[in-house]
Symmetry: C2
Subunit: 351 residues, 2 copies
């Protein structure tokens, strides 16, 4: 244990379950941004000199300026997200980076299933009927409010689920869908990886036998064959607007689209047009390109067949607590030169 | 085949997939109410004399007056619901009754899962943020919009689901919840049926081994132990307001309540109070006592933690088509004195 405590800066109070993990350590001099809003850059720049560990939120850009303000004492940056970080600048300075993968898999898979159900069952329109006090105006009618059923049924025994991106969250979503009677799963993933039927056969073993097929397909087949389609691929330039007019025109009229990954993957304007013109049945999105600057005149907000949530994919009490706890543990391990529970391998950025 | 066709009256056009089942029969004289609203009683009374088969909707009361208007030729009433029928009057006249059980199990189970997810994830509040154009006002914060997670997770490995009523729809709902990591299932059912651990052990075999327990419990234990609680019990005087203040006070603060059966089972005023005061986390209801006369000033509509849908439990294209098809087949079998695919046994009403 060093003689003088190690300085640690945390950019948000992480609540009574997590803060004691840091505050109760004898070897730490803990400094916490005291307000319930994103940290002021000026405050951060003033506190950083001599810092050994920095724990940041999604709201905080970690730039070379920030890293240089901390100076050569900085050993670790611990974060609950990664997209707001200049990873190259961190790697170049040989600073370790802790992050929180996996922890949010269940929360996002839950939300993906919820949005698929809501899109099929016209949830935004039907909730609005009640909210506006219009329920008394509707009498029962054989096909009133009807949408496509997510579950297979005796009259409709097959269901194909499609995944754009087939990582952990996609597989957790598929697991949840199996007892709804999903019979077939198709996916696309990194176009550079060659078609590998052996890998698909291996993957299929993770699921109950009621899933008849699991296979990688082309993007156009993904669009045309999916009854429900989940966008679960990383963001960035490579995947920008993969879901565009051409893709949406290829979908089934009774299908639903769910995006719980990154807003940039879907062309919002094309999706709004597709819903308006009935190329697909409905959509449920937790992310929108340009968020959070999404106002009432946004084309998707205008579209009653689009359920929109304000990016709450990982927003469960259990998951955020798990993320904050892991971030605190990464920080502690990092400043003490121990192995972090979840450190990002930065070797590819170190040339 | 009889010499003169049998007169059949249908109170609503059931669409191009179902009507040919009836219209294409040589032995039938088909009369269909031509409007897209509930049938006028006067029209019905005029058409009924000499009718052999009557196919009715939820909206149509079948009273002794209606039955007498049809007269002694009436052999069968076929319906897509049963609560609007005077069953005793039908039984007394030795008329057969066809109905459509089971067909809607999957649709209602889907909706039950959807509402449980929505209640936990604060769907009404978070959707409203986007609908009102308020998303730009929110910046990320560690616990913003967080609710209890339906799925079990590494930090929270147990989940107990409770069912008030444990029939087909409840079991179909439980099946869907298993891969979310549900570990324990408790239920209450008809209080007259004695506790039977052997039956519970038999029932448990229908589900994967990851479900550790399945057992009948008292009403108070159902309230206190459930992380999510599904009301799936018949309506009527016996179950009226079983979910009342006392029951709701016993629930976990992080639990959610879902009602997809009958509005009368839940005391709406007590539920609104419970949500306002935080006795439980949230609720999702597809049915409300007094529906459809539910206006904006209703106590549950006023409560942001209550998701309300306008009774769309069976409203999927597949299910309503299945219900209409079965109703048509019951009618055909009934008028021809063949066995109906789904006839209600009226012997208990025939003394």
């Amino acid at each position: 244990m060093p003689n003088s405590p190690l300085k640690v800066v945390v950019t948000r109070d992480l609540g009574p379950d997590v803060m004691p993990l840091l505050g109760d350590q004898n070897d730490i001099d803990l400094i916490v941004w005291p307000h319930d809003r994103a940290v002021d850059k000026q405050w951060l720049l003033e506190k950083l000199p001599g810092t050994t560990g920095l724990l940041v939120m999604l709201t905080d850009k970690v730039t070379p300026e920030i890293l240089d303000a901390a100076g050569p004492t900085l050993r670790v940056v611990s974060t609950m997200s990664v997209e707001h970080l200049d990873i190259r600048a961190i790697a170049k300075r040989r600073i370790k980076l802790g992050y929180t993968p996996d922890v949010l898999t269940d929360a996002v898979a839950d939300l993906s299933v919820m949005l698929a159900l809501m899109a099929g069952r016209n949830a935004r329109q039907t909730m609005s009927v009640v909210d506006k006090g219009e329920w008394p105006n509707y009498t029962w009618s054989p096909f009133l409010f009807c949408g496509p059923q997510l579950s297979a049924s005796t009259t409709s025994t097959q269901r194909t689920v499609g995944f754009l991106g087939f990582g952990r969250i996609a597989r957790a979503t598929l697991s949840r869908l199996i007892p709804f009677g999903i019979t077939d799963c198709i996916y696309t993933s990194n176009p550079d990886s060659p078609y590998n039927p052996d890998r698909d056969a291996e993957l299929k073993k993770e699921f109950p036998a009621s899933l008849r097929t699991l296979k990688k397909v082309s993007l156009s087949q993904l669009a045309s064959d999916s009854d429900m389609l989940f966008v679960l691929t990383p963001g960035g330039a490579e995947t920008r607007h993969v879901v565009n007019e051409e893709f949406l025109k290829g979908m089934k009229k009774t299908s639903v689209l769910v995006n719980t990954s990154r807003g940039t993957v879907v062309d919002s304007f094309a999706l709004a047009k597709a819903l308006r013109e009935g190329w697909l049945w409905g959509a449920g999105v937790d992310v929108v390109e340009g968020e959070p600057r999404i106002t009432q005149d946004h084309s998707l907000v205008q579209e009653p067949k689009c359920v929109i949530l304000p990016h709450i994919g990982s927003a469960t009490l259990e998951t955020r607590l798990g993320m904050a706890t892991l971030a605190a543990k990464n920080l502690l391990a990092g400043i003490r030169d121990e192995a972090m529970p979840a450190g990002l391998d930065l070797s590819q950025y170190c040339e």
